[in-house]
């Protein structure tokens, strides 16, 4: 299978690889996928408690090149956005940006899931002090 230049670029130079303290109150962690399906993504966000702006994002992904590229791109896109803005990111935008073929669309879906799961985790942590509704999937 031939990959788009953007997928190759993210694969060769993945952005924002790493991990943050998952116990921190400012950090939301999303872990989606399953090893037997061939894809697992961990996406973490660090949110400013006052502005709700995502100040940092990290990822680690087990999966094909398109899965790595989708999650790498997702960290780039969420950074600097508020959590509500980040929830607007659609998998179809990832498909378009990376020129993913139809068989790789599930990689973009997983990246969108990872963003939502990380935000959901962060919101849950905030709910302990100030209740915020968790966006239903």
């Amino acid at each position: 299978m031939a990959y788009s230049d953007k997928v190759l670029d993210h694969y060769s130079n993945p952005r924002n690889v790493g991990s943050m303290d998952k116990n921190s109150n400012e950090v939301g962690t999303g872990l989606v996928g399953a090893p037997e399906c061939g894809d697992v993504m961990k996406l973490q966000i660090k949110v400013n408690p006052q502005t709700h702006i995502i100040e940092d994002a990290k990822f680690k992904t087990f999966g094909c090149g398109s899965a790595i590229a989708s999650s790498s791109l997702a960290t780039e896109w969420v950074k600097g956005k508020t959590v509500d803005e980040a929830l607007q990111i659609k998998n179809t935008e990832i498909v378009k940006e990376l020129a993913l073929p139809p068989v790789k669309i599930h990689c973009s879906v997983l990246a969108e899931d990872a963003i939502r799961a990380a935000i959901g985790d962060w919101k849950k942590k905030q709910a302990v002090t100030e209740p915020v509704a968790v966006a239903a999937k």
């Binding site: 299978m1 990959y3 190759l8 694969y11 993945p14 690889v17 991990s19 872990l31 989606v32 996928g33 399953a34 090893p35 037997e36 399906c37 061939g38 894809d39 697992v40 993504m41 961990k42 680690k60 992904t61 087990f62 999966g63 094909c64 090149g65 899965a67 790595i68 068989v103 599930h106 879906v109 997983l110 899931d113 799961a117």
Partner: protein, 422 residues
């Protein structure tokens, strides 16, 4: 109208190794130059139809075909008349299984095979099930071998055929065909083996191993694509198969169609070379394979060889790299031609059914790479491949949440994965 075919771009590594490296010899092999040389006259001056019995053009072609038949027969301990030419192993497998099923329908309707067979066997058996045949799919153990006791139990008075491959195309595991042949002979059941990966790589003797039908293809053996053969035993017992392709009654009526003479000559030459060189070559390939395995596994933790290491083709190495997905690994070693059992590399998005049958778990199937070492690989290439694989696996493990979790002491099999979306 002309079509521009681009050459595969080549570069040379710092250590003088030409890239890309071909290490996918189970998929196909390049033509041996000696094979090409033998074939060439049959495209031009010896172009005749071997069925033309009344002029020298036909005789020259016939001589080439009969010489090839003898060369193939010699490699497998058969007689020339027992070799039926086909278009390749898929056709040979179809002809053997469907041909026996139809011919022996009066005797019974039960066929026995194994879950790790090639699709050309499995899908043929599945089709026969639609026509009222019963098929038993024997399981394999963790090492990829069938249990002979399972086979004995599966044979009943309606069994007409056992079809078990000699060597597996993914994991290179060699089934105990001599023992299988013996059991089949005792129980008076025909034995077919798909020996596509085994012929010319490990010794085959149709009499010693009690093989009644055997599929062969040229392109796994440094011969051309599009030509193969089916060995059909002529005595003790005399085996008959119904034809799939009707016509001029070529190949003793079992396979009509004008013979593909240049390719048949190529298949014969490839077998002749194998007869001469197999012993030395398999020793050399096994040494290269062991070097590759040693070099990779001494530097990486949690890597596993899939399938028996004892009963294995000399050139095969199939390794799972835990916590790394196969397709992403292939992307990182894109100057090396190998293949993966990962779902992402298959059209069906299912991981390898062969590796799943070993009970390794889907995650290890997704993480597998098949190295197929062959005639034209060198030690320098093996070293390059090992270094590249090791560095890529290390890089991808840095990227892998599973590796991180495993290092934190989390038991991944106990994690509740949120994967309902798939």
């Amino acid at each position: 109208m002309s079509t521009v075919v681009e050459n595969i771009p080549q570069v040379t590594s710092a250590k003088g190794v030409k890239l890309p490296i071909y290490m996918d010899y189970h998929a196909t092999t390049p033509l041996d130059p000696r094979v090409l040389e033998a074939m060439l006259p049959y495209f031009t001056e010896k172009f005749g139809n071997p069925a033309s019995r009344n002029h020298p053009f036909g005789w020259a072609a016939e001589e080439g075909v009969e010489n090839a038949r003898a060369q193939i027969a010699k490699l497998i301990g058969a007689t020339a008349k027992e070799i039926i030419f086909t278009s390749g192993a898929t056709e040979s497998n179809n002809l053997a299984i469907k041909g026996v099923a139809e011919m022996y329908r009066e005797k019974g309707n039960h066929i026995i095979t194994a879950v790790t067979e090639h699709k050309a066997v499995l899908d043929t058996c599945k089709r026969l099930e639609k026509y009222g045949y019963r098929v038993t799919y024997l399981p394999v153990a963790k090492d990829g071998l069938i249990d002979l006791e399972d086979l004995k139990r599966a044979i009943d008075d309606k069994t007409i055929l056992v079809t078990i491959m000699a060597a597996n195309n993914e994991i290179g595991v060699l089934q105990p065909i001599e023992e299988i042949g013996k059991i089949c002979r005792e129980r008076v059941v025909l034995f077919h083996t798909d020996a596509v990966q085994a012929v010319g790589k490990v010794p085959i003797d149709v009499n010693k191993q009690n093989i009644d039908l055997m599929s062969i293809t040229a392109h796994k053996l440094y011969g051309p694509k599009g030509v193969g053969a089916l060995y059909v035993r002529r005595k003790n017992p005399r085996v008959q198969v119904s034809a799939l392709i009707d016509g001029g009654g070529h190949e003793r009526g079992m396979r009509s169609g004008t013979l593909n003479v240049p390719s048949i000559v190529g298949l014969g030459k490839a077998c002749a070379i194998a007869s001469e060189e197999m012993a030395a070559e398999s020793k050399r390939l096994a040494a290269l394979r062991d070097r590759l395995k040693q070099s990779i596994m001494s530097r990486l933790d949690e890597t596993y060889v899939n399938g028996s290491e004892e009963h294995r083709l000399p050139g095969n190495l199939n390794i799972s790299f835990a916590y790394v997905e196969g397709e992403s690994l292939l992307m990182g070693i894109n100057d090396i031609a190998v293949s993966s059992g990962s779902a992402c590399t298959s059209a069906t998005l299912e991981p390898s059914y062969v590796l799943k049958a070993l009970g390794a778990g889907d995650d290890l199937a997704h993480s597998s790479i098949r190295f197929g070492i062959g005639r034209f690989n060198t030690e320098a290439e093996v070293d390059y491949v090992a270094d590249k694989v090791v560095s890529t696996v290390l890089k991808l493990r840095e990227l892998s949440p599973l590796y991180e979790m495993a290092k934190e002491g989390i038991d991944l099999s106990k994690v509740k994965w949120a994967a309902e979306a798939h």
